[in-house]
């Protein structure tokens, strides 16, 4: 196990990258602490897999260093980094049995026969494949194959970290839940550093202690699930976490102060940025609908069972509000934002320190 430090890493798949847009990873500085359970969350193409492959050594970064417990491993090949990685689609060795598949990473490292047998037995039991050890791996279902792929990562007890690259894509939802819970338990038992890549916020929030959100080749926020929900550091985090995502509205300045879509905002003058593009972020849960505030036109209401999502046209802007079950929407609705739950963003980054009333 190791503390993995990523320092000033930039990566481009082009031979002669010019501007920032040529970089798949624009600049990453991050530390994965020993024994942490991390989720790396972001949309497709944000650089998650690139970052993972750079940590495991499958890809060499264009710039920057990778340190394991302070030791520079940037130039070490994958084989010598002692990292386990599980890929999106199952990789199994067709000609081997299930047990041989699990034993493969151990045998390649010259583990003693008796140890190999014992650990394979254990792993078969954990994966629920105890009766399938002698079966040929090629005939198994996609789920069982992916379990074997997971098993080949987990069976190595001495790894620095285990990296999961959207490992449950091919697994059906019920099984997904179960396997994720198992992974979580394994993490508590074995204490490996685990990094779990996903674009599914539910998966990320249920698996991890710390969620790392990536967007366009940058880490935009690291925090607990509650942090991400309550204090999105970047408009993207607000939009990506939560269902539906945060409302982001442009801010207008006039003689009377600031407003967004007609809703008056009164930030303390000290935090008011003097330049840049200003936006305000408010979660649908924190939009109040009543007879006071700025007038809005109701477009549609979606009933989601426990709550309803109302879509408004607020002076030409789209606004979502989450309403508790049974609440009424007046015929000429007006909206206000819940005090203390409104965030101000300058050029997409949160203006820290203060909350708006």
């Amino acid at each position: 196990m190791a503390r993995i430090e990523i320092s000033g890493v930039r990566h481009s798949y082009l031979r002669a990258p010019q501007g920032d847009e040529d970089y798949a990873l624009r600049r990453i500085d991050h530390v994965w602490e020993t024994g942490g359970a991390y989720a790396l969350l972001g949309p497709s193409g944000c650089g998650k897999t690139s970052l993972l492959n750079i940590m495991s050594g499958l890809v060499r970064p264009t710039e920057g260093r990778i340190l394991f417990d302070g030791r520079d491993v940037t130039d070490l090949p994958t084989e010598r980094r002692n990292i386990a990685q599980v890929f999106q689609f199952p990789v199994i060795y067709d000609t081997m049995t299930v047990a041989e598949n699990l034993a493969f990473p151990l045998r390649n490292r010259g583990v003693r026969d008796a140890d190999v047998r014992r650990r394979v037995e254990e792993m078969l039991a954990i994966l629920g494949l105890a009766d399938r050890g002698r079966q040929r791996a090629r005939g198994l279902s996609a789920e069982d194959k992916q379990k074997i792929s997971l098993g080949r990562g987990l069976i190595r007890s001495d790894v620095n970290a285990i990296l999961f690259d959207e490992p449950l894509t091919v697994i059906d939802p019920l099984m997904k839940w179960e396997l994720r819970t198992q992974l979580r338990q394994l993490h508590q038992r074995l204490g490996h550093t685990m990094v779990y890549v996903t674009h599914d916020q539910t998966e990320a929030l249920t698996f991890a202690d710390q969620v790392v959100v990536m967007h366009q080749g940058l880490i935009v926020q690291v925090g607990t699930p509650a942090d991400l929900f309550e204090r999105p550091e970047h408009t993207f985090v607000g939009y990506f976490i939560g269902s539906p995502g945060m409302n982001v509205l442009p801010v207008h300045a006039d003689g009377n102060g600031l407003s967004a879509g007609g809703v008056r905002l009164d930030p303390p003058a000290s935090v008011l940025p003097t330049e840049g593009r200003l936006e305000v972020g408010v979660r649908p849960e924190h939009v109040r609908v009543g007879r006071e505030g700025a007038p809005a036109r109701l477009l549609r209401v979606d009933d989601l069972g426990r709550r309803r999502i109302a879509r408004f046209d607020l002076a030409g802007l789209k606004l979502l509000a989450a309403l508790p079950e049974g609440s009424e929407i007046p015929s000429d609705p007006c909206v206000t934002f819940e005090p203390g739950k409104v965030h101000l963003y300058r050029d997409s980054w949160r203006v820290s320190g203060e909350r708006l009333p």
């Binding site: 492959n53 495991s56 499958l58 090949p77 994958t78 084989e79 990292i83 386990a84 990685q85 890929f87 999106q88 689609f89 199952p90 990789v91 060795y93 067709d94 000609t95 081997m96 493969f104 990473p105 390649n108 490292r109 090629r138 005939g139 996609a142 194959k145 792929s149 080949r152 990562g153």
Partner: protein, 291 residues
């Protein structure tokens, strides 16, 4: 009772007629010849199984068959590993791929008799580049007189002509392996040999079965190249079944024995085809659920 629609016969009749003219009738003619004797003038006498007994008892037939089998065995032994080796070393990306593929395909595009002529001239001691170079270097090489030299020439020629087919098939198998398999193997700490043994070889197995089948059939029926290069000699050293057959039928006009020999030759090829087919389909069943 189900009504029987006789009109269906009318619809398949053209195909039946075509197949009959192209395959069944010629084959039956040969069967017909193989059980009769003739002294010309279109007069035939029933001979029964005499010709078959004669062919199966003749040393000439067994020698030719033996040569065929040895030839096929040797070229498979060289072409399959060499083709795999070349495929493993071909570039997977970049401009080199197209260049490689074109170069590899070139020998495959040359007609058999031209290949024969190229090597016939190439190997000549008096004017051929290969033959005279070897002579200059002091190597005693003459495919017209020395049986070993004749065999070496034919084998090198076949390897030159057909290894690229094996290489291209193996390459097709290799490029179908997703990157994740190589990455996982590196994560698992697999050695280069283990990657070949457990990742590449299993994925190539299917196309290689096809390669072995094609190369075996082709080399077992080889005619044009040895006919052009050695004409079956020196002596009978490169007289394969097909060459022997043509000599017997066209050269000596022994229609009966030649026909009997054709049928036996045909049955041997049918047998090998069936064996390969059985092996391949079993492989397919096995791999149907693989991924």
């Amino acid at each position: 009772m189900k009504p029987v629609n006789q009109k269906a016969w009318l619809l398949v009749a053209p195909v039946l007629a075509l197949v009959a003219f192209s395959a069944v009738i010629p084959l039956m003619t040969v069967v017909n010849y193989s059980v009769q004797d003739t002294f010309g003038a279109n007069q035939f006498f029933w001979a029964g199984t005499v010709w078959y007994e004669q062919v199966l008892a003749s040393e000439r037939f067994w020698n030719a068959l033996g040569r065929n089998l040895i030839f096929s065995f040797i070229i498979l032994l060289i072409e399959i590993p060499l083709g795999v080796f070349i495929a493993l070393n071909m570039p997977k990306k970049g401009p080199g791929v197209a260049a490689c593929l074109v170069l590899m395909a070139l020998p495959l595009l040359i007609p058999w008799n031209v290949v024969g002529t190229i090597w016939q001239v190439f190997g000549r001691v008096d004017i051929g580049l290969l033959g005279s170079s070897l002579a200059l270097a002091g190597v005693d090489y003459n495919y017209v007189q020395d049986p070993v030299d004749a065999w070496v020439t034919l084998i090198v020629m076949d390897v030159w002509h057909w290894t690229s087919l094996v290489a291209l098939l193996a390459y097709a198998g290799l490029v179908s392996i997703p990157d994740a398999f190589y990455q996982a193997a590196r994560i698992d700490g697999a050695s280069g040999w283990a990657v070949f043994r457990f990742v590449q070889a299993p994925k190539m197995a299917r196309v290689l079965t096809i390669a072995v089948l094609l190369r075996f059939m082709d080399s077992f029926m080889i005619y044009t190249e040895p006919f052009v290069v050695t004409g079956g000699g020196p002596g009978n050293s490169t007289t394969f079944l097909s060459i022997d057959l043509v000599q017997m039928a066209v050269g000596q006009f022994d229609l009966g024995p030649a026909a009997a020999m054709s049928i036996v030759y045909f049955l041997i090829i049918l047998l090998f085809s069936w064996i390969f087919y059985a092996v391949m389909t079993r492989h397919d069943d096995d791999g149907a659920k693989g991924g």
